[in-house]
């Protein structure tokens, strides 16, 4: 066991602050007031504690006896009056549908959707699904959704709203003033056709795509460079060398789930076995999910990004653009030279991406990619992505038109500019001058508050529709439940208001597919439509991706970039605005599953915050939780500071998507709104600014899950190696060679039927957190809220541990004990993610300490937890070396204190009926989705066949876009999991304890070559 590696979860642990050391000694997060009770004001305080005791005892026994005397309640059973043919109570039905362009399967029970799963044939993510998509099913049952249309802030019938809107539209048509349809990117062919019909009816109407987080910069740059105003389709799987300048493509950038799948293809076990691994270099400001996964990560300020790109262009092209200056950051400068060499060596298999929304920056990136021969290989302009089509300038122009009083009607479809436009006041002022303001929002949100007609749209699980995420890939959306509330599909509303000859939107979608889209998949007619509803999508053969050569003049572009850099560099601090993986642009702020999902890097829940480099914090005298005022672009917010190793010095990062005021009770007041920090420059929204910080002197502790589970200096938890070492010796890092002789105190268990085990590839896991939400949805894991997370009582059965280590000093990414003291290294930290869940140990320490045998071993290699047997001693949690057991401190599903999250009659409909909800005072933990194992076995028995590998997929495995989790039967030597566990990279966490875990991890490999800094 290598004892010189040092991983740490948080700065407290690293620095061994006195508070941390003190806390760590205790079994419980908060001291139990035994002393208080036994002395002082406790038992001795009363005059006659013995009498009080007897009174209490008598009363207690009496109360319990009385309570036990109640009659057993009579249970009613209500069968269907007329049972729908396709429903068998107790059996799940699956329907193909689409979520934001990805093909999905919706699992329904007794006619209500309870889980969203990826469609294994999906073109984009092949069955993987993001945390947001997993959580989307909860929105359907949100009691805070609008329950009926309303006119002038009072509920009304649809007919009333219809006649009002139609009368107004007729008058507006006669007046001839403008009508705006503002939507976030709409790529549904049928929706676009309905909007087009609407515009035909009202010729002054205009459809504007407005994205709160915009990609206009890339679209405009492609227009300028190649005359194609599109977002290209990136192929990370075809790239051997990936260089990203602040593009968080594994977390939030364009289509992260798809990119994770592509990216991991060149880094997972299969690729490593073929001696192939891509290289990924990230230049960025804040620590993003992508940055944490990179082989080499160089922190740069936003102001350095432009200069760095110019430097890189110069190095690759061999020319010098006018105004070029040397990068002040010598580390980055050195790295860029080496990166240029690597990129050139991988010509045709290289990819450079930038997260900036600045047109000039993106034009320069296009020029670099053109030099690298990326077009036609790693970048596809001929099969573009339609996931983002927003046009910033158009919307800015529209807002000024509203302010000038040129607009008479505006319709908001999935858009909430009052919250997410950078000058919210302009929208508010403008709306005052608009006669008819309609929103299709599901919620009475910030924009809806200013509209005179609310025409609530269906949830996507109640709707017909379609999507077109990338060229030639059309997905269909079908309703899986009758509308829960009195809502109406936005397209239907538009059709009614524009007197569309087609009366039903379903018919409209049907016609649209019959006319054009079905033919793409070689389908036709009724049978074709039925096939489509089963497969979920059609895909045309991709067009050949053309090669494009950049031949525009770059002098002006370089000038613009450098000017901007100079401007940014003038301030004291630079501010970077980013999206978190969980909350993205904040549209799903009222979703408690997402609010409680810890950020992959900072591990903060229920808040946004100011990320700062630890050395900056030391300099400014801040500590974790200090509340500071951030001033930028004439707007300011007060937020807590989080020390973020890896954050570029002299910068702070703040996430958008928080600070909603009218999202519903879950999201209201969570964090602060960072959208106003945006600015407009050359027609696009900019995500960086100069900022000033002022201390407020207050302290607000964030709900961070980071240091909850100390690793106590144990060094066999995380293991990693470098690609170079791996090529020499595939078992490097896993310590296979050491070959300790193990002695066991316990008897071996036999696994005569199955032996369910899991393999997790640390090299594939990107830490995105989709598994955490999928697990919550599958296993009815409760949400506990910010306060309880602060008390370390989060209930997630699977967590993703994030371990930092220092960047290497030439020794294979291993940080030596003595190097840790040097704080300046905190800029260059490495990160390893490790999904941690019950290890289902064969020699489980929890089992031996349970006094009531509530947790016992099964013959199938699982560690069973019988909730109804548990009396809540918590001995098991105390004895578990992996700290994966969770205690129900409250009756979360039936306690008014948790009202906002899951405890109400509607959200309870999302519960998985095959899994029980746990009561207060009971321990729970990962069951390896035993309900799925049992269902899989039963299916095989009914079909009279043996179990096949892949019959059972656990929830976390199913949703993982990286396929980092493999689950199966170790008794079957040919199963995927058996093969994975045979890999030389496999090791078991805390192997030396002889717990014989059922989950094997595969060593993290980093592709670090000699040319690294």
């Amino acid at each position: 066991m290598d004892s010189n590696k040092k991983y740490w979860k948080g700065l407290e642990e690293l620095n061994k602050t006195p508070e941390f050391v003190e806390k760590n000694k205790h079994e419980f997060a908060e001291p139990i007031p035994i002393e208080d009770v036994l002395s002082g004001d406790g038992l001795a305080a009363g005059k006659s504690p013995r009498r009080d005791f007897l009174k209490a005892l008598g009363f207690g026994v009496g109360a319990v006896t009385l309570a036990a005397c109640q009659k057993v309640p009579v249970h009613k059973s209500l069968p269907y009056l007329i049972k729908p043919e396709e429903i068998t109570p107790g059996v799940a039905n699956y329907y193909a549908s689409t979520y934001e362009g990805s093909a999905i399967l919706v699992k329904t029970r007794e006619g209500r959707p309870i889980k969203v799963e990826g469609n294994p044939n999906d073109i984009l993510s092949k069955g993987g699904l993001s945390a947001q998509a997993q959580a989307s099913v909860l929105d359907l049952y949100d009691v805070n959704r609008l329950k009926s249309p309303s006119k002038n802030q009072s509920d009304c019938a649809w007919s009333v709203a219809d006649s009002y809107v139609k009368d107004e539209l007729a008058a507006i048509k006669a007046g001839g003033k403008k009508i705006g349809i503002i939507s976030s990117t709409t790529n549904s062919p049928s929706t676009l056709a309905v909007i087009a019909d609407f515009i035909t009816q009202y010729p002054t109407a205009k459809h504007i795509n407005y994205d709160a987080v915009s990609y206009t910069g890339i679209i405009q740059a492609n227009q300028n460079s190649f005359g194609k105003s599109v977002l290209p389709h990136y192929n990370f799987d075809k790239a051997d060398v990936i260089v990203s300048f602040g593009a968080d493509f594994l977390g939030t950038w364009i289509s992260p789930t798809e990119f994770i799948r592509q990216y991991v293809q060149n880094r997972n076990s299969k690729s490593l076995e073929n001696k192939k691994m891509s290289r990924h270099i990230q230049f960025e400001t804040g620590m993003s999910v992508t940055g944490t996964n990179a082989d080499v990560r160089i922190p740069i300020k936003p102001s350095e990004e432009g200069v760095a790109l110019v430097t890189l262009y110069n190095a690759i092209s061999g020319t010098t653009l006018p105004g070029t200056k040397k990068l002040a950051n010598s580390n980055a400068d050195k790295a860029l030279m080496l990166v240029a060499k690597e990129l050139m060596a991988a010509k045709g298999k290289a990819l450079v991406v930038a997260g900036s929304n600045d047109v000039a920056t993106q034009v320069l990136v296009n020029a670099i990619n053109s030099l690298l021969g990326s077009y036609g290989t790693t970048i596809d302009l001929d099969n573009p992505s339609y996931q983002y089509k927003g046009n910033d300038a158009e919307f800015v122009e529209f807002v000024s038109q509203m302010k000038r009083g040129e607009v008479d009607a505006v319709f908001f479809l999935n858009a909430n500019p009052v919250y997410d436009y950078f000058v919210s006041k302009d929208v508010v002022d403008g709306l005052k001058k608009v006669r008819l303001k309609v929103t299709f929002s599901n919620y009475s949100d910030e924009t809806a508050a200013l509209c005179n007609v609310l025409a609530p749209n269906h949830n996507y699980l109640e709707s017909w529709g379609d999507d077109n995420a990338i060229e030639g890939f059309y997905t269909v959306q079908q309703p899986t439940i009758n509308p829960v509330y009195d809502t109406r599909q936005a397209e239907q509303s538009l059709m009614v208001w524009s007197d569309n000859p087609v009366k039903e939107y379903y018919t409209y979608v049907r016609n649209n597919w019959d006319k054009t889209l079905l033919a793409i998949g070689g389908l036709s007619g009724q049978s074709g439509w039925e096939t489509l509803l089963q497969t979920g999508f059609v895909k045309a053969a991709p067009k050949p991706a053309g090669t494009y050569t950049f031949d525009r003049d770059l002098n002006a572009v370089a000038q613009t970039i450098l000017d901007h850099s100079n401007q940014l560099a003038q301030g004291k601090l630079e501010l970077q605005i980013y999206q978190t993986v969980a909350m993205r642009d904040g549209k799903r702020a009222n979703n408690p599953w997402l609010q409680e999902l810890p950020d992959p890097v900072s591990k903060v829940t229920w808040d946004n915050y100011v990320c700062m480099s630890p050395s900056d914090m030391k300099k400014w005298g801040y500590f974790d939780g200090s509340v500071v005022k951030v001033d930028a672009n004439g707007y300011s917010v007060t937020l807590s500071v989080v020390s973020q190793p890896g954050q570029a010095q002299g910068t702070v990062s703040v996430a958008v998507g928080y600070g909603r005021t009218l999202s519903g009770p879950v999201g209201n007041g969570v964090g602060k709104n960072a959208f106003p920090f945006h600015s407009l420059r050359n027609g696009t929204f900019q995500t960086s600014a100069t900022a000033e910080l002022t201390a407020t002197g207050e302290v607000s502790i964030l709900a961070q899950t980071q240091t909850h589970h100390s690793i106590e200096g144990r060094n066999s938890i995380i293991k990693e190696t470098t690609f170079k070492e791996y090529l020499k010796n595939p078992s490097s890092g896993s310590d296979k060679a050491e070959g300790h002789k193990m002695y066991s105190l316990w008897d071996e268990y036999e696994h005569p039927t199955y032996n369910w085990v899991m393999a997790i590839d640390l090299n594939a896991c990107t830490g995105c957190g989709a598994c955490v939400v999928a697990c919550s949805a599958e296993n009815n894991v409760p949400v506990v809220g910010k306060d309880e997370v602060r008390r370390r009582r989060e209930m997630h059965w699977i967590r993703i541990d994030r371990y930092y280590s220092f960047d290497d000093k030439g020794d294979g990414g291993i940080t030596r004990e003595h190097e840790i003291a040097k704080l300046e290294d905190l800029d260059n930290v490495r990160v390893v993610y490790q999904p941690m869940l019950c290890q289902h140990c064969d020699h489980a320490p929890c089992e031996t300490v349970c006094p009531v045998l509530a947790t016992v071993h099964s013959s199938e290699g699982l560690n069973h937890m019988a909730y109804n047997r548990c009396v809540g001693t918590r001995y098991c949690a105390n004895n578990c070396p992996y700290k994966v057991r969770r205690f129900n401190w409250f009756n979360y599903w039936n306690d008014a204190r948790f009202d906002n999250y899951l405890q109400n009659e509607h959200t309870q409909l999302v519960l998985n009926p095959d899994v029980v909800t746990r009561f207060r005072g009971v321990m729970e933990k990962c069951s390896m989705c035993i309900q799925r194992i049992q269902a899989g076995k039963l299916k095989a028995k009914i079909e009279k066949r043996s179990m096949k590998d892949g019959d059972v997929k656990v929830a976390c495995q199913q949703t993982c876009p990286a396929n980092a989790i493999v689950f199966g039967d170790a008794n079957d030597p040919n199963s995927e999991v058996s093969k994975a566990l045979k890999s030389e990279r496999t090791y078991y966490v805390l192997e030396e304890l002889d717990t014989k875990p059922g989950i094997g991890y595969q060593v993290k490999v980093r592709n670090i070559s000699e040319i690294d800094v």
């Binding site: 009579v74 249970h75 069968p79 269907y80 007329i82 068998t88 005569p752 109804n868 309900q931």
Partner: protein, 420 residues
């Protein structure tokens, strides 16, 4: 009481029948043979027609009353489509009236057959109308049976009678005493008072016997203890639970006498974890036609918003039937019917008892964990013919060791197999 109403009904029917036959002699329509007609009617017409009620087709009694053109009727019955095709105005009108639904053609029926059928229908219709008029009053009284009030009154009378007897006894005793006192014979009472002293003495003597006291106390403790033990163990065990259901559904009739397969109604048992209570459309498969007059069946109609006269459903009037759940496992245990019924091939009666003899269903088995585990320990897995078990090491091992392949031996009593 039901038997009384039954006898009454039978009696009134036979009276009616005689009256009917008597009437027959004078009947103007009696050209065909009604007896032959009955057989033909039952063979050909009952699928769609009833005499007094509309079924798929119209109620034939009133229909034939209004339609007297027998030639037309014969043609219509033999081949109505031909009539419609020939644009016979009357035929077309009827066709339109019944939403252009064709009646099955019966070309195999001769003119005589049709006449027989018509005769039978006329007879039956007459009988029914008569029946409605004459004995209506008596029948309803008989059917309603003795009311609760009558029963209470009877009980009251009996109790009163007892009280009267007691009072009379007292009076007799008092009178006897008066007579005795008049005779001056009071000495006996002293002797009576001496008796209890003797009895107490016996008791005291017995109480001094320590062995006896110990024995009595021990018995008492044991009895009380075992009673407590049994009561505690059976808390929340509802064997024999037989709630009153909203509809008196007789399982003994359906599953017993009629031998309808359990899974005809409880369709989920093969496929799902829930055996499921049948939805009402399953009931309507038969009860659209069978026993339509029963008030219990009318509860189904009411729940569905179904009007048997017009045969139309009105979903606005429909409301679910609230059955009382009898077999109720707690949420913390997962039970799957298909595992037991389809895979293991268990009979429903193994757990649910002799349902085919139950007029009202009650809980037969205790449904306790002990009961589950016992069965899992005793029952062998039915692995023959199921390829699922072919490659299972456990099965081969157990057989090799000469052990029984019970559900428990296959891991069927591990906590997590049911509790998750």
């Amino acid at each position: 009481m039901r038997s009384i109403s039954f006898i009454l009904k039978q009696f009134s029917r036979s009276v009616l029948l005689i009256a009917g036959f008597a009437f027959l002699g004078f009947s103007a329509y009696a050209q065909g043979d009604a007896a032959k007609g009955e057989a033909l009617f039952k063979a050909n017409c009952t699928t769609c027609h009833k005499i007094d009620q509309q079924l798929v087709g119209p109620a034939l009694g009133p229909q034939l009353d209004s339609e007297t053109d027998e030639k037309f009727l014969t043609k219509w019955i033999q081949n109505n489509q031909a009539l419609i095709a020939a644009k016979d105005p009357k035929a077309v009108a009827i066709f339109k009236q019944f939403k252009e639904a064709n009646m099955t053609a019966f070309p195999q029926l001769s003119d005589g057959d049709v006449a027989n059928i018509i005769a039978y229908v006329h007879d039956e219709w007459k009988k029914e109308q008569k029946a409605k008029l004459t004995p209506a009053a008596g029948q309803t009284a008989a059917e309603s049976g003795p009311s609760d009030l009558v029963i209470f009154a009877l009980i009251g009378v009996i109790i009163l009678a007892f009280i009267v007897i007691l009072v009379l006894n007292k009076v007799i005793a008092a009178l006897e005493r008066v007579v005795l006192s008049n005779k001056g014979l009071f000495v006996e009472e002293v002797a009576v008072e001496a008796a209890p002293v003797d009895r107490l003495a016996t008791f005291k003597r017995l109480a001094k016997n320590k062995k006896l006291v110990f024995f009595v106390l021990l018995c008492g403790t044991l009895a009380l203890g075992s009673w407590t033990w049994v009561t505690m163990w059976n808390t929340n065990v509802h064997t024999g639970y037989q709630p009153v259901q909203p509809i008196k559904f007789p399982h003994d009739l359906h599953a017993g006498a009629m031998k309808i397969d359990c899974q005809y109604c409880h369709t989920g048992a093969y496929r799902s974890k829930n055996a499921s209570i049948p939805s009402l459309n399953v009931c309507m498969n038969c009860h659209k036609v069978v026993k339509t007059e029963s008030p219990e069946i009318h509860k189904i109609y009411d729940a569905l918003g179904y009007d048997p006269a017009t045969q139309k459903y009105d979903s606005t009037k429909s409301r679910p039937i609230q059955w009382v759940r009898i077999h109720n496992l707690p949420d913390l245990v997962y039970f799957n019917h298909s595992q037991h019924v389809k895979v293991a091939g268990l009979k429903c009666q193994t757990c649910h008892g002799p349902v085919q003899t139950m007029k009202e269903v009650y809980q037969y088995s205790p449904l306790t964990m002990k009961w589950c585990v016992q069965c899992h320990k005793r029952t062998n897995v039915d692995f023959k013919g199921n390829a699922y078990y072919d490659n299972m090491i456990a099965v081969h091992k157990l057989i090799k060791e000469g052990k029984q392949v019970t559900a428990a031996a296959m891991g069927g009593i591990e906590c997590g197999k049911c509790h998750y």
